[in-house]
């Protein structure tokens, strides 16, 4: 009995295999079908908002118009995106297109198509971010989505703590955070863990007139101003006005805690807005966002971040990539992305379409004169070091930690 069942099962499997073989053999050979490997960072906060849904929608619509080109979408969570893409590149298993962090070293190694090769109208990309993706005069990184940082605060907690105005100086931040800590909440959310320590650090450096580089593009990480900045942060942390051990806390969990009403103040991009809405704890009138606090007054220039598309040469799909990118960069998809994640567009036409939008308008206005990360080829290596170690300025000597980073910058 048993043997017969097995026999039947084996026959069924064999039959299925034969059928499968038939069906693959019978596929009509339409003009050499190509599959593009698209690897994107996941901006979503869960399965319902994952970026693979957004990209799959574009891919499906695109495939309908271009039956010979399929697009395989892989979405990777932000925490692992850099590592995984870098591993693919190191192992020479190149994707065709990536969207997320972009490294100038890819351009330096000659791995990428230039913007001109894979986009019909590269002039439509926001000029403010052109420098970021440019290597030796040619643009390789194509901005896809942008954002700028502001200070979000919980108005409800502020009222409870009897604070009447928004913080604009470091002294305000310190006294307000102390009052909110008194309510049993976290005063200031300070994500200096590996996920995005380079952003949080830069926001505080800017508040004291510092930066990673001087205005002429020379690394100056251990400048007196920066050391002073981290000394202030150490004071803030030691007073208990932040979450404990900020060097181990990442951006995403802290944003979620802010959305839960557990944190008084936090620096964030508009991407925090959908997180607040999903959490459903804070109503629209319970929070607001203002320019980031500086040592002596609010910042006039904030950090502008763009995530880039990069197109890899090695699979030789130039024409297909161009078709796809022209399709994906349509205004409607730009705007759909921005509405979904509360981020800002990266093309001039889409920006124009959103100019008068109540939420996006003010952010868009600030975008052109925003401060950006360094764009030289030493930055990618340096960034991973900053992410891993800059948080330790809070528990050891800031001067020596920043000094080591400066050394790494000089070596790279």
């Amino acid at each position: 009995m048993k043997r017969r069942i097995w026999g039947a099962a084996a026959m069924a499997v064999a039959g299925a295999l034969a059928l499968a073989a038939c069906s693959t053999g019978a596929t009509p050979s339409a003009s050499k079908p190509v599959t593009l490997k698209l690897v994107v960072a996941d901006y979503g906060t869960g399965p319902s908002s994952t970026s693979s849904t957004y990209w799959q929608g574009i891919a499906t619509a695109f495939h309908k118009k271009n039956p010979s080109i399929s697009v395989k979408v892989t979405a990777i969570n932000w925490n692992d995106f850099d590592t995984q893409v870098q591993t693919m590149v190191q192992n020479k298993q190149y994707p065709d297109i990536t969207e997320g962090d972009y490294f100038s070293t890819y351009a330096q190694e000659g791995l990428l198509y230039s913007a001109k090769q894979v986009l019909s109208d590269p002039g439509n990309l926001l000029p403010a971010f052109k420098n970021q993706g440019t290597y030796q005069g040619t643009q390789y990184g194509l901005p896809f989505t942008t954002s700028s940082r502001t200070l979000f605060y919980n108005k409800k907690l502020f009222t409870q703590a009897r604070i009447s105005s928004a913080p604009t100086t470091w002294a305000d931040v310190q006294s307000d955070a102390a009052k909110i800590t008194g309510l049993g909440k976290i005063g200031f959310g300070l994500p200096l863990g590996a996920e995005e320590a380079q952003a949080e650090s830069l926001l505080w450096m800017l508040g004291n007139g510092g930066n990673y580089q001087t205005s002429s593009g020379k690394y100056d990480i251990d400048s007196a101003a920066n050391i002073q900045t981290f000394e202030f942060l150490t004071k803030l942390v030691n007073a208990g006005d932040t979450e404990p051990n900020p060097a181990t806390k990442d951006r995403t969990p802290l944003w979620q805690q802010f959305a839960q009403g557990q944190i008084g103040m936090i620096n964030a991009s508009p991407a925090l807005v959908p997180i607040i809405k999903t959490a459903g704890v804070l109503t629209d009138s319970d929070w607001t966002s203002v320019p980031i606090a500086g040592k002596n007054g609010a910042l006039t220039k904030t950090l502008g971040v763009c995530d880039n598309v990069a197109a890899f040469k090695s699979n030789g799909h130039e024409a297909q990539i161009k078709k796809f990118l022209d399709f994906a960069y349509q205004d409607k998809y730009q705007i759909q992305f921005d509405k979904e994640y509360d981020l800002l567009p990266a093309t001039s036409t889409a920006a124009k379409a959103l100019e008068s939008d109540a939420i996006f308008g003010p952010f868009l206005k600030a975008l052109p004169n925003s401060v950006q990360y360094p764009s030289d080829t030493a930055w990618p290596q340096l960034k991973t070091k900053i992410q891993q170690t800059i948080g330790t300025t809070l528990t050891s000597d800031p001067k020596s930690v920043l000094g080591q980073l400066q050394q790494a910058a000089n070596a790279g």
């Binding site: 590592t83 070091k385 170690t389």
Partner: protein, 318 residues
């Protein structure tokens, strides 16, 4: 079949010339085992030896962050590696991690194995339950512990708070994984937790192979329980202890997912072992990371050799 054909196929000849006349046959007979172990050897060459060669090769090359070889680096990768200020701490932590986890695991496993060898109602269920930490993914276990230790609402903190041992959430005390020392201690707990099932089962199988008569004889001679344990049980399961310890040392030394999921080796590198540190380096400094791999590899081999030597492995297992 071949031998039955021999007398007819071969002309009659003296033993001497026969042996000389059929070297190929003799060779085939000698080489016959190769057909059986050959595939295994090929597999070992491809998945074990080849990577070792590539690893050593990479450690001597200058490699760009994107994986391009830019020429020879000589021993520069090793020099940069030894210049890393974090390295000494990482190595010391690796020793504490490995020795601590393996020692605690083995001691607890000895007790557990003894328990599971005794007859008690529900033993079958208990034995199955012990497999769970082994059967579930280590990464999953590590994540569960990370969430349980969350300073804001982790279940460990909630319990401690409810019984009055923890004053406030989101405080330094509640942030177990934020402080390097307590983070390392917790991760060692997790490592012990996932290592227990294998060690216990290895020791249990050792216990089960001890014939009951030996105990009976000793009991008739008036041996106490403690005497039975130290005089019979321990010596007789010594091979099992050796093997379990050795495999644990290698596993724990190479353990990656627990540390990576719980702290990523941070803050800074202060909860990194040489395995996670190697991975952190790999992101941008491939050559240097390969250099650390070489050192890790050498360390494992040295540990194993020293251990085998010290425990007179040959006499035990032969």
């Amino acid at each position: 079949m071949t031998s039955s054909l021999l007398p007819t196929a071969a002309p009659p000849a003296s033993g001497h010339s026969r042996r000389r006349g059929r070297p190929s046959r003799r060779f085939i007979r000698r080489a016959a085992p190769l057909a059986w172990i050959g595939p295994a050897i090929i597999l070992i060459v491809i998945v074990v030896l080849l990577p070792v060669v590539v690893m050593i090769q990479s450690s001597l090359q200058k490699i760009s962050p994107d994986g391009f070889v830019l020429g020879s680096a000589g021993i520069n990768n090793f020099i940069t590696l030894f210049g890393e200020s974090a390295l000494s701490g990482v190595l010391l932590r690796t020793v504490i991690w490995t020795v601590g986890v393996v020692a605690v695991t083995m001691v607890i496993s000895l007790g557990l194995a003894q328990l599971f060898n005794a007859r008690f109602p529900g033993r079958r269920v208990a034995r199955w339950a012990l497999i769970v930490p082994w059967a579930s993914s280590v990464m999953m276990t590590a994540l569960i512990f990370r969430w349980a230790l969350d300073p804001n609402n982790g279940v460990v903190n909630v319990v401690l708070h409810d019984v009055g041992l923890l004053k406030a959430f989101n405080s330094n005390e509640a942030d177990w994984l934020g402080r390097p020392v307590s983070a390392l201690a917790w991760m060692m707990v997790v490592a012990v937790f996932v290592s227990l099932p294998f060690s216990t089962y290895a020791l249990l199988s050792g216990l089960q192979s001890i014939p009951e008569e030996v105990y009976e004889a000793a009991r008739i001679d008036g041996a106490s329980y403690w005497k039975l344990y130290t005089g019979i049980t321990l010596p007789m399961i010594r091979p099992a202890i050796l093997v379990a310890t050795l495999i644990n040392v290698i596993n724990v030394f190479n353990s990656f997912p627990i540390i990576w999921e719980m702290t990523r080796g941070g803050p800074g590198y202060s909860t990194s072992t040489s395995t996670t540190f190697m991975f952190t380096l790999k992101q941008s400094y491939i050559g240097e990371s390969a250099a650390l791999s070489v050192i890790n590899f050498a360390m494992v081999i040295v540990i194993v050799l020293v251990y085998l030597r010290a425990t007179h492995w040959k006499e035990q297992v032969d």
